[in-house]
Symmetry: C2
Subunit: 124 residues, 2 copies
């Protein structure tokens, strides 16, 4: 979890671009060729090829061969890794939040038990 850094660098960087996230979203529905992936975008074909290379290097997609075509498929493992990293630290945060929260509760309860008598003592 902690030392998967170089891997996650590429994954998060790849996902930071809206065009690439749209490609990932499209590929979640199934394989597609470069032409098919390029079609929705107002962008040159080489630009799409470059985005696909970024996704491939990040391990988010893989490509096979079908005649002249290079169908792309989503590789969900890296999505899972990125999600795992996020969830891990959300979880750590939540545990610490709860810990502090109960600590504050206990301090309040201590106050009720101890500060009232203290005031009484002062009054006396």
């Amino acid at each position: 979890m902690l030392i998967t850094s170089p891997h996650l660098d590429a994954a998060f960087a790849a996902l930071a671009d809206p065009t690439r996230r749209a490609i990932v979203a499209r590929l979640a529905l199934g394989e597609a060729t470069v032409m098919e992936l390029a079609q929705p975008f107002d962008m040159s074909q080489p630009a799409i090829s470059k985005h696909l290379k970024v996704l491939e290097i990040a391990g988010l997609i893989s490509r096979s061969r079908d005649a002249q075509r290079r169908p792309c498929r989503l590789e969900p493992q890296v999505l899972a890794d990125a999600s795992g990293w996020l969830d891990h630290y959300r979880d750590v945060w939540e545990r610490n939040f709860r810990r502090l929260d109960t600590l504050l509760d206990e301090m309040k309860r201590q106050e009720k038990k101890s500060s009232v008598p203290r005031r009484r003592a002062k009054k006396k």
Copy 2:
């Protein structure tokens, strides 16, 4: 889920840097000042301040004031949003995978029922 793009651009870009992920990891344990966050890194203080600004703009952290200090705290919502995006498309992929998988199974079953008779017919 689909149109939260500009938001996710900044979040994923912020998380693409290992220094910033380390800062997020540290803040999951609780608040910390800029000095405390900078200490583990072989990097100038202004560099850390810039990383913190990137994280703040992405909505991943927030900062308060304590005398000269600017304690940083993690804001887990954006982590949750990013994780949600990933999980959503993993889920879409998985559903489509299963759908294709059962489709293939059905096709195989059809083959058993229909192609064997066809072969018999040919032989005859």
